[in-house]
């Protein structure tokens, strides 16, 4: 039997925030380089679950707007994260699902209809060159690959496998309540912590892979004591409060040190919810204890480990569908999925 040749993705069109991402490059904090990696790390577990492959393979991250691709060979793909309009040669594709893309077919991924960061995973993973042991694009450090029109993205060898699976993802695309643990400077905001937790914030239009600004619907959280704090280590999830009292939640590409005080730190398992909050989305913060946070992280890790078991066939057995006329059985797309928007 012929071995499947290594394929590539030809990029015909691309939005401004399309990059190659993986789980980032841990271990360089001491040298001033933050871990980086996918803004929504849960999506990076969902794709491999759908494709039945390792979770450390690179994928294509699309911020708000997708891209148009053509595969040079038959490939498997999975679409996760923020739901985007996707078509294959003009026919709608289900999101949170895996599909076969034939050589030469046009895969068009458009705007996000909920959330911010959508992901295109491929069987075998994206195989751009590793820099410092990772393929993750880190704009400030000049590392990794920004996906632009005209590019040809090499793909890894796919040991082949099934497609046509679908996953019901954890809903993390509409803001909501974000769990936070006290961190380095929470005490300088002691007087304001109740008000902080009662406040509604709106995700500002200002936001990127470094962090998102959360505008309070009311007075900010300025702390005089916070101005004289020595620069200290920064980690993703930290909620820095800038000089005007507005919190910034820091994301994957944040700097490694900073002098603004931190009112708290978002749980890693809740960080995708912040990253995926579209401009205008409402966010609230709830302080929990370190023990509660560890329990939540454990639960989230178990859920990630169970994702593969949660994958269902995309095209359901016709006999099992009660209201057959309500479904459109074309290319594995059902009306049920479209209605979720």
């Amino acid at each position: 039997m012929d071995q499947i040749a290594m394929s590539a993705l030809i990029v015909h069109k691309a939005g401004p925030g399309v990059t190659v991402q993986d789980l980032g490059r841990p271990g360089f904090l001491a040298f001033g380089l933050s871990r980086g990696g996918a803004a929504d790390r849960l999506a990076m577990a969902e794709g491999p679950a759908l494709l039945g492959q390792a979770p450390d393979l690179a994928a294509i991250e699309m911020a708000g707007m997708g891209a148009t691709f053509e595969a040079t060979g038959d490939i498997r793909i999975a679409l996760t994260g923020a739901k985007m309009r996707a078509t294959l040669d003009g026919e709608a594709l289900a999101w949170n699902a895996s599909h076969l893309v034939a050589a030469g077919a046009q895969l068009a991924i458009g705007v996000a209809t909920s959330g911010v960061y959508g992901y295109l995973h491929v069987g075998g993973g994206v195989a751009t060159e590793r820099e410092l042991a990772s393929r993750a694009a880190h704009a400030n450090a000049g590392l990794g690959v920004q996906v632009v029109a005209g590019a040809e993205i090499p793909l890894g060898d796919d040991r082949a496998g099934e497609v046509g699976l679908v996953l019901s993802p954890e809903d993390r695309f509409h803001g909501g309540t974000i769990r936070v643990v006290p961190s380095l400077q929470t005490d300088v905001f002691a007087r304001d912590l109740d008000r902080f937790q009662a406040m509604t914030f709106r995700r500002d239009a200002r936001g990127n892979r470094m962090g998102v600004r959360c505008v309070p619907v009311g007075e900010g959280f300025f702390s005089e004591a916070g101005l004289s704090i020595l620069s200290e280590v920064i980690t993703p999830g930290d909620i820095q409060v800038t000089g005007d009292g507005t919190p910034f939640v820091l994301l994957a590409d944040c700097q490694t040190t900073g002098g603004y005080p931190r009112i708290g730190s978002v749980l890693p398992c809740d960080l995708p919810r912040v990253a995926q909050a579209a401009p205008g989305a409402e966010l609230r913060f709830k302080l929990i204890t370190l023990d509660e946070a560890v329990a939540a992280e454990r639960k989230a890790a178990e859920a990630r480990a169970g994702l593969r078991r949660g994958c269902q066939p995309l095209v359901r057995d016709v006999a099992a569908i009660h209201d057959l006329l309500g479904y459109q059985l074309i290319s594995g797309v059902t009306a049920g999925w479209d209605e979720e928007d």
Binding site: P26, G27, F28, L29, A30, F31, G32, L33, E131, L132, N140, A141, G142, L143, V181, P182, S183, L184, L230, S231, E232, V233, T235, G237, D238, Q255, T256, T257, G258, S265, V266, L267, P268, L290, A293, V294, E297, R298, A301
Partner: protein
């Protein structure tokens, strides 16, 4: 050491997966040395579940897997190592280098030298002399890849950061504030004032050793004329810099 509210060393959590040992609440030479030496000690311990360690100016950070290691247990182990000695007495790391980096202090290469000098209460000539003859030490690497915070400068240089950000300083910019120099590894917006320009590349992603200076290394920013700059830049990633081993 005490600041009236806290006793040092002080241990705190950083989010759900970090532990921070702070040796002071303000920058000092002994606290900086303690942070560097304590990180080395933790690296030697090589505990399971510890993902990485780093230092900032006066503290040592430990990132761990919270599902594998309990914060209280880690804290107890860290306290045991802390109790081994007075870390503020520690020597600087071994294998340190003294870098001499050619630096242009004129014209567009030093757009805020006069402003910074005035804030320090010095003439531009005196300012240049102080900055270029003070051997500054890498106190921490941070903010951007391989980017050193160097100090201390003489007391006159205890000048604040700008309130407004400079839109962009170039790679290799020499900037000052709060008795420190930051040498920029990337082009970035900053509140620090640019007083000089080097052709030194701090972050070389394709090299085996991509981050060039190490905490504890020392630097002299030797003055050169603006006409030398293009040649320095063309000479390679060191930009004409040389180094010698420190004892």
């Amino acid at each position: 050491m005490q600041d009236g509210r806290h006793t040092y060393p002080r241990i705190r959590n950083v989010g759900v997966d970090g532990l921070l040992v702070s040796f002071a609440d303000a920058l000092s030479e002994p606290a900086n040395r303690a942070a560097l030496a304590f990180r080395q000690a933790l690296e030697r311990e090589g505990w399971d579940g510890v993902e990485e360690t780093s230092t900032s100016l006066v503290s040592t950070y430990v990132r761990f897997d919270p599902l594998a290691v309990d914060f209280a247990d880690l804290r107890a182990r860290v306290e045991a190592v802390l109790g081994d000695r007075d870390w503020t007495d520690a020597e600087l790391p071994e294998g340190r280098k003294l870098w001499r980096i050619p630096t242009v202090y004129e014209g567009d290469y030093a757009p805020q030298l006069e402003e910074a000098a005035a804030m320090a209460g010095l003439s531009p000539e005196a300012a240049l002399a102080e900055i270029s003859t003070t051997r500054v030490r890498v106190q921490t690497i941070g903010f951007a890849p391989g980017q050193p915070y160097l100090g201390p400068l003489p007391e006159a240089w205890d000048i604040p950061r700008q309130t407004e950000l400079t839109k962009q300083v170039p790679v290799g910019a020499v900037t000052v504030a709060i008795r420190q120099i930051v040498l920029f590894s990337v082009s970035a917006p900053t509140g620090w004032r640019q007083v000089g320009q080097t052709a030194f590349q701090l972050f070389r992603k394709d090299d085996d050793a991509p981050f060039v200076p190490r905490p504890g290394d020392e630097v002299l920013f030797d003055p050169v004329g603006a006409d030398a700059f293009d040649n320095l830049r063309a000479s390679g990633p060191d930009g004409g810099a040389t180094w010698t081993r420190l004892p």
